[in-house]
Amino acid sequence: MKRKTERQPCEAGRSMPRLDAYAKVTGKTRYASDFYAGDMVWAGVKRGGVPHATILSVETEEARAVEGVIAVLTAEDVTGTNRQGVVRKDQPVLADHRIRHRGDPVALVVAESRRALREAVDLIRIQVEPLRAVLDTDAALRDGAISIHEDHPGGNVLLEGTLETGEGEDAFAQCDAVVEAEFQVPMQEHAYLETEAGWSVLEGDGVLKIEASTQTPFRDRSEVAEAIGLPVDRVRVIAPYCGGAFGGKDGVTIQSLLGLAAMRVPGRPVKMWLDREESFLAGVKRHPARLRFRLGAKADGTLHALSADLDYDTGPYDHLGGVVTALGLEHAGGPYRIPNTRVRARSVYTNNPVGGAFRGFGVPQAAAGMEQVIDMLASKLGLSPVTMRLKNVVRRGDRNAIGVAVLSSTGIHECLEVLEGHPLWRDRRAWKDRCPPARKRGVGVACVMQAVGYGPKVPDVANAKIELTPEGAFRVYCGVVDMGQGNITTYLQIAGHVLSQDLTAMEPVLPDTDQTLPSGSASASRTTFTFGKALIRASKLLKRRILERATDLLMEEDPRNLDLVPGEVIHLTSGKRIPLSQIALILNREERFAVARYRAPVSRERPTDREDLRLHGIPHTVFSFGAHLAAVEVDELTGRIAVKKYLVISDCGRLINPRLFEQQVHGGVAQGLGYGLLEDMIVRDGKIMTGDFSTYIIPTALDVPNMVSLAVQMEEKSGPFGLKGAGEVAVDAPLPAVANAVADACGVRITRFPMTPERIMEQLERSGEPAP
């Protein structure tokens, strides 16, 4: 018999194409929103429409009378707690008593057709008594401000945290140079391709099945069960490939509503799918924030004192606002050694759209402030921004700005060294001199870090399961959602590496609370980090079992004389091969499965004794880092900023799939450039004025430059194959890198973001005026 050409096993460190790419680009992938069935019904909601009010009554008779309407539900019909949330469960599934933002769902309609649904929703009347709307954090914090949640002891302050190290603010007296600035960063929309969507059915056995576009199937399951009043084992959540999420689906969107609807039509699937306008209105956003920074250094550029105040507008619900704010607090001082600091962050309730998780998770705001003031300080001291940073970035073993010893791999110094030697930095003067007429060129840098995982209290755990199928293939039960990052491909690559298999011999099972094991959220830069490590363990267990059984089969004594190759076990001394399908036949069912658990390491440091701050994630122990360079051209006639070149040097540990890693960097930078330059969610009176893609401007391919992405591949011992998280850190730096480049180009610095041409022009005109 002629041998087939040898199949190449997967190998960590080698790029391989995405498993899902072909099906996605040919439209074959089925997302939650693609579900249709003959007997399917539709669900949708009537939303509050006012920023703040007491609900007097909800009139639904007319809606019920519409032909094709099956049910109209209000809060009174919800038998569970009617509350959702991750930390503080303060968000009603259907508003009871009070409307807290315009997008609050008040009544749920179940109908035979989309048309009947729309008609019924329009006919629902909500009688309200308006309450004074709290429209910004200042108003929320003012004495006598109306409390958005009367039962919250902190009033409109959802969470406040202050951390101090060294002599705190007293140390400014010992500084040779001090700078101070205040910035405002905007609300940002996730703008995923697939809006919030899903379908649900109450099955014959009484189990409520929900398939949803979500990042968090396991958490959704318990949240939904509690909110709508079902035992948790009566809810099953399935998470297919998700059409983008970026944090916006970290938490329940339509799931509880779907559950309530499905209970009304046992046996029939119910679908809910927000259109883009409703997604803008109801979906969570990146928290707008006001940042006050004061930074001081010694004459030689050594950072000495930092004071920072970060106020995040979380809208009317916690969602993940408290955790976002805590991460901002932890990252306020950036990746620097600063011996004396006082940092405070607050998360404040308002009647604006709901703030929630978004790639970067509070860090892009903090970095926007810190990375600009350090540039301002460098310029005051006459130091190059790179020299200034090289002098101060944390090295492994140092204490960071909140006084926590950085014990895991720390490559920001190495990143900066690569940046310093790169032609884009080295030759910047020549590039700037070649500037076309009526334009100015500048180059800016920024350094950032991003924590990996949940922090010290909430267990960051993943449970991997892998099966040798009766056919001799490997099935990987993936516990964490792939929302487009490609982690499912990486999971197979990891298992393939351990088991010496190629992708054709492996298949994934996507997250499903019935099939896969609880492994936490696709978030916090932990998706590959935590699950990958668990999967390595499970794969090793299964490998050992297979080799041991093959050893017995061959009456060999030493399992070390056997090894796995794609599809087979090979006996190294005889060259004999046993197909894996044959091994599978002689293993019983239980033996064909292996499961393993991994819990990410936690820091033993205690920068604070406040248990609530620890619960919210302070401190972390593993961080990814990045040094970014932006080269920009500012048009003096129009104020437009063109980012011409972009360089990213990352420390995300060792790379498993360099191509997927690069895609994360590219995507993060594009989203970060949108945040810094274009995306301005304008909210007036709690109402989104830029409610669709014709007015909310995200970058196109023509707005994003070619990017150079390099990685210093230092090994992180606690991560799979030395890897650290890479999903978020790239989004943190573009705003300050570009802002610093603009300042370098034309000496102006704007304080309200994004850097629209209008704002730049205003500053340019002002800087042209003679000093008063």
Binding site: E119, L637, L702, D703, P757, M761
Partner: protein
């Protein structure tokens, strides 16, 4: 909400169009639908209306030379015009505007006639058509009239199009005299972007860089495209320099009447209306 589904017709010729239209006089015309479908989605009376698509009316998709003029069918897509040698050679200012209109998929669908009939102050083909004094051909079942574009567009979203009338073509004189052709739009991003302000210019520049003749038209800084003979006259005979342009700023201020909207405020639009002139001295001039 009307219970009936909207009907859509696809006439293949003008004759068919007239016949369909007389049977369904309330039907609304569209070509690429890139404006109309967006408005329909927002609801209102348009949402349920019957539609007649002009895409297959062959007469509307022609481009031909007629003596000193070129006739462009109103149904020609932006993409087809962008690549057409007659358009490229004769009307570089229009080609420049095409390149910044929408994005490749939009340009594949959008028609030049639709851009004109939408009559948005931000329409990208309009300032170039104004500087070239384009003449529009309007047809009804038994009649044809010609009207200059600046008389056809009467306000934001308003035109002189009569009932039963359709825009069939655009006549543009060849303008061999002009050796500077310039269109610049400022939008919020580099593609898929509605103009915040735009300037079209064609000019005759002498070997000594004197402006012998110039025509200018601004988009998005007034209810309709702004063309000012005063400014054109003031610049004629002046050197092509930043100083000459700056001297015209007060006239620009008087000519434009921008508004505040979500995209930009009026103040910024005023700055742009002036500053866009300063790009002209940097433009290449073809001998």
């Amino acid at each position: 909400m009307s219970g009936r589904e909207a009907r859509v017709w696809l006439p293949g010729s003008l004759d068919e169009l007239w016949k369909i239209w007389s049977d369904a006089p309330d039907a609304v015309l569209y070509a690429g639908g890139t404006d109309l479908m967006v408005r329909r989605r927002k609801g209102g009376p348009l949402a349920g209306s019957d539609l007649i698509c002009l895409e297959r009316v062959a007469d509307f998709r022609e481009i031909r030379e007629e003596g000193e003029e070129i006739l462009i069918g109103a149904g020609c897509t932006i993409a087809s015009l962008m690549d057409h040698p007659l358009v490229r050679q004769n009307f570089p200012v229009l080609t420049q505007a095409f390149k910044v209109l929408g994005s490749p998929p939009i340009r594949n669908m959008a028609s030049i006639g639709g851009n004109i009939c939408t009559a948005s102050p931000a329409g990208d083909t309009l300032p170039p058509l104004y500087v070239m004094d384009a003449l529009l051909e309007l047809r009804r079942e038994n009649g044809l009239r010609r009207i200059p574009i600046r008389e056809f567009i009467t306000g934001p979203g308003k035109t002189d199009l009569g009932p039963g009338e359709v825009l069939s073509g655009i006549r543009i004189p060849r303008l061999p005299r002009y050796n500077l052709h310039h269109y610049e739009k400022v939008g919020q991003r580099n593609a898929l972007s509605i103009s915040i302000a735009g300037l079209a210019a064609i000019a005759r520049i002498s070997a000594e860089r004197t402006i012998e003749d110039i025509r200018l038209a601004w988009g998005s800084v007034g209810p309709t495209v702004v063309r000012s003979r005063n400014i054109e006259k003031a610049l004629t005979g002046k050197p092509l320099s930043s100083e000459s342009m700056e001297a015209a700023f007060p006239l620009v201020d008087r000519a434009v009447s921008p508004i505040d909207d979500l995209r930009a405020n009026a103040r910024y639009r005023r700055i742009l209306a002036r500053n866009l002139l300063l790009r002209l001295p940097f433009r290449g001039v073809h001998p």
